[in-house]
Symmetry: C2
Subunit: 222 residues, 2 copies
DNA sequence: CTTTCGCAAATTGTATACAATAAAGCCTTC
DNA sequence: GAAGGCTTTATTGTATACAATTTGCGAAAG
């Protein structure tokens, strides 16, 4: 979107995720405006976006507070993602074309290369992983579905988790993508759906494992 | 929310649904401001809401247009609703309390009364139906899920459909709610899920039937 | 006739001032 | 000492002015 509005959104989001603002803190528009170096107008836009991300919560009189997230809430998000992204995989399998297959294969090959070394290239992994899932979502061809899922995938807490993945976790993710490709090649929607759902669920448990020993600060939102 | 912002939202929404604005039409902020009798500021808020409702679409440079909805898109929305609201019913069944059960029974009794006469009280039916589904959603106890589903349930096109329901369609809906109550009483999550999914799917076909012979104008969004 | 460059008009983004409203503190009263 | 209402203060809602950007038209060159 626009410059100031984006800066405000990113700044506030970073403040929430870094723990600079903790759960329950009040977010006054004027204070945020001063903090971000912009006026209240773009702040209001940013707050709308953060609200739809569920990173902030608003009272009946539109006062804003930082949301508090329990592990159960994160689990909810993953479960919904598993369901919706599984459905997306099913639809994608049924609408799969050779062209998209080629792109998906290239994508996963890049993922394989990024994690093959001793020190995995996490940025490339995340980018290509995102691209892979976006391709599937596009192929599913439902604007509604895309709309719902982006809100779930944009969960910023989740992306940081990859930095704590083990070598095996990366390999498993890569291998599951290959399974998905097999399902897509056969146009087997049911298979694709179950593989994708399992893929997301495994990611949730990887998240749980990675956060078991983490401190409050590292974990981001409490 | 606030007065002017709400008025703007309702006015624009009504213009889209009534066909006064047709699919693809450009929505200039200034023109809308004049039309709604408010300034551009609340219009911008309203456009955000309409965008998240998918009633309008925005280009990369934030220009707004009325969304065009095909029957397939509406079908998508119903399918997603069936999946998510089915999941909500499952969770609700597992977390069901006697208190909520009592409220649900009262709700469905009111629905039964509203449609028992020769001339059904459609407003009461819609209100109580909405209340019934909202209770289930609350009992499911997932903010994420509530967030996702409200966007789908708020589909305004759907509500008008009830005005074309047959007597049998109302009775079936009422009866399916009773089935749901049975599933809830037994805390049978799987049963509740399948009943709810079927309930929504039936509603979709009722929608299709009702719109078969309708003119473009009556149908609202194309 | 087509294409491209540039200017003008329209549209959205941002800032600021002011109005309306809700939260909070204080005083009064029982 | 507690409770209720009033005043004060803080916060959000709205309007308007201005800046930045985009779009579309038109003229000139190939």
């Amino acid at each position: 979107m626009t410059k100031a509005s984006d800066r405000a959104y990113d700044t506030i989001r970073a403040m929430i995720l870094s723990g600079e603002l903790s759960a329950g803190d009040a977010l006054g528009e004027e204070a945020l405006a001063e903090r971000c170096g912009v006026s209240r107008t773009p702040i209001r836009d940013a707050l709308r976006r953060l609200e739809s991300d569920l990173l902030i919560r608003r009272t009946g009189t539109q006062r804003s507070f930082v949301s508090d997230w329990s592990l159960g809430d994160v689990g909810d998000a993953f479960e919904l993602r598993a369901m919706l992204e599984g459905y997306a995989a099913r639809r994608a399998a049924e609408a799969m074309t050779e062209d998209v297959l080629t792109q998906l294969r290239a994508c996963n090959a890049a993922i394989g290369a990024a994690i093959s070394g001793k020190k995995p290239d996490i940025t490339t992994f995340l980018d290509r992983n995102r691209e892979f899932h976006a391709l599937v979502l596009d192929t599913a061809g439902s604007r509604r579905l895309t709309n719902l899922l982006t809100a779930l995938i944009e969960q910023p807490v989740v992306w940081r988790t990859a930095h704590h993945y083990s070598h095996e976790a990366f390999q498993r993710s890569h291998s599951e993508h290959n399974d998905l490709l097999s399902a897509f090649e056969r146009r087997d929607g049911a298979w694709a759906e179950t593989v994708m759902a399992g893929h997301i669920r495994r990611a949730f448990h990887a998240y749980c494992d990675a956060h078991k020993g983490m401190t409050e600060g590292e974990r981001g939102v409490a």
